[in-house]
Symmetry: C2
């Protein structure tokens, strides 16, 4: 068990991430009482059945009252309104954070409604899955994953203390913590997460709409690469709608680069420029080696049916 960091944790929004935070925090004992609120009455009922929180509130203000750490784990565009609803009951000296995939828009929204004397430290654990809802959570989700915090720049020692404590909290959950400017976070994530999701959603949509190839064929022969995209494109629709709307500028910038490059690749195929294709395909292998060297994934293939993901 780790040191107790917060006497009371409140989690607002209890999907995959919210429930995983609760399970992980409980497992390592870094918080005392845990209160949770979810906007969906069905989800609240389910959380009561699962029994992993001390209090399941029907009003978010009841969950937040007296909490030392408040984590907003709702889709990005709901974080501001959710914070506004509870702003006047936030405990002075409490820390307010979130887990959204977009940081500049969330930081701005929180900054507008959270009163002085409460420490706003936006955050983003880079971990997840295509599953959602309170049943999806698991205590090891954040282990060996990066959590990025985007604190404001200040020489307030109390804020620095709050940041250090929140860092320790995430480390206790198994994460590595980085601190970053919120706009840079949004650009980095536009590349490593938002564009991959956009592309996956798009390719699955394109495949579903073809007339010459049936949906049954697409599914049947999906082991050739497509299947990986279907998994990504099964991610939570509302969360991802919010991500693209809240990080519009960075996503459109990166998408513009991607489209330019794709047009060049298309042209190389049309004109039979094999050397250009081979050069690119060889270069992209280096990045894969980087991913493996950085411990983001194993290089050792596993030959079990489900772990190995066969391509063509």
């Amino acid at each position: 068990m780790s040191e107790r960091l917060y006497a009371k944790l409140a989690v607002i929004g209890c999907g995959l991430i919210g429930s995983s935070v609760i399970l992980a925090a409980r497992a390592v004992g870094v918080v005392g009482r845990i209160a949770v609120y979810d906007a969906s009455p069905a989800a609240r009922g389910r959380i009561r059945e699962l029994g992993f929180a001390d209090d399941v509130a029907d009003d978010p203000r009841d969950a937040v009252r007296g909490a030392d750490l408040v984590i907003f784990a709702t889709p990005p565009l709901s974080i501001g309104p959710a914070a506004a609803q509870v702003a006047d009951v936030l405990k002075p000296g409490a820390t307010v954070t979130d887990v959204g995939s977009v940081k500049a828009a969330v930081a701005e929204a929180l900054g507008k409604v959270v009163p002085a004397g409460v420490f706003v430290i936006p955050g983003h654990p880079i971990a997840g899955a295509e599953t959602s809802g309170p049943d999806a959570g698991f205590a090891t989700l954040f282990r060996d994953r990066w959590t990025i915090l985007t604190p404001r720049i200040t020489d307030d020692p109390a804020y620095a203390e709050a940041l250090a404590r929140l860092t320790t909290f995430w480390e206790a959950l198994g994460a590595h913590v980085d601190v970053m400017d919120e706009r840079h976070h949004d650009l980095v994530l536009a590349v490593t997460s938002h564009l991959p999701h956009l592309i996956a959603y798009n390719i699955v949509g394109t495949a579903a709409d073809l007339e010459e190839v049936t949906r049954g064929e697409v599914i049947k022969y999906s082991a050739g690469g497509f299947r990986d995209f279907t998994r990504i494109a099964a991610s939570d629709p509302i969360m991802w709608r919010d991500v693209f709307l809240a990080n519009k500028d960075a996503v459109l910038e990166i998408l513009g680069r991607f489209t330019e490059d794709l047009q060049a690749l298309s042209r190389a195929i049309r004109w039979g420029e094999g050397d250009k294709l081979q050069e690119l395909f060889t270069r992209t292998r280096e990045i894969r080696r980087g991913v493996i060297d950085a411990g983001q994934e194993t290089a050792e293939p596993d030959f079990g049916r489900q772990r190995r993901e066969p391509l063509v």
Copy 2:
């Protein structure tokens, strides 16, 4: 052990698929002697060390001579030239097949050089991995995967017998076999495999070329979705160069559809049309359910670090 189907098997090209065919055929005992040839002297040396073939020939003609089944497992554009090299030593009544991801171009190339009296039945096992070379093979690669055969249409009973035997061969290796028109195969695979690879190569290339985001950052924060693309984009460069050149028309057609759809999606983001985004992201979930229902992947998440592939 299954019934012996071919007294001698020759495999030309011994990468991931070639070596897996040999290991799988040997494991179930459907062939007698196995001869292999690879254009790379280093690969031939390695195959001798691994010891999974009876004969490792330095001349493909020696491997093919007397073989009842000849499998070309080279990159698609090498199949025609490789077949031309051995055409005059093919045994009358033998079956010639291949494992290429493109079928119309390969069928045409084989049809031009293989003499009458030898049965050409192009094939494509939809299985693989991003690994390559003779060390990459494993006997269970084809288990519960589809193999598509694209035979010519004929009422020759000897050809029908050869097709039935080759079907039994793939089934003995654990595969399910479908028969399909070669042009339709190429269109289906353009959707389920070729476009996903093209997109993955492209996004990894785009990410590597950014100035504002370092390569180190891309790798470090790759768990948000990008990592899956790096795996696909680590596939064999020469094989994939050949796939795009040999299936140009179908790939460009499907790519055109994808690009149109992506432009519409980009526009929806720019204009903040959340409903359109949410509608697409909800629809793509259905395809995922189809993939799971069809047994192409498990719905049950596994919480081990390497099996679970966390997204944001």
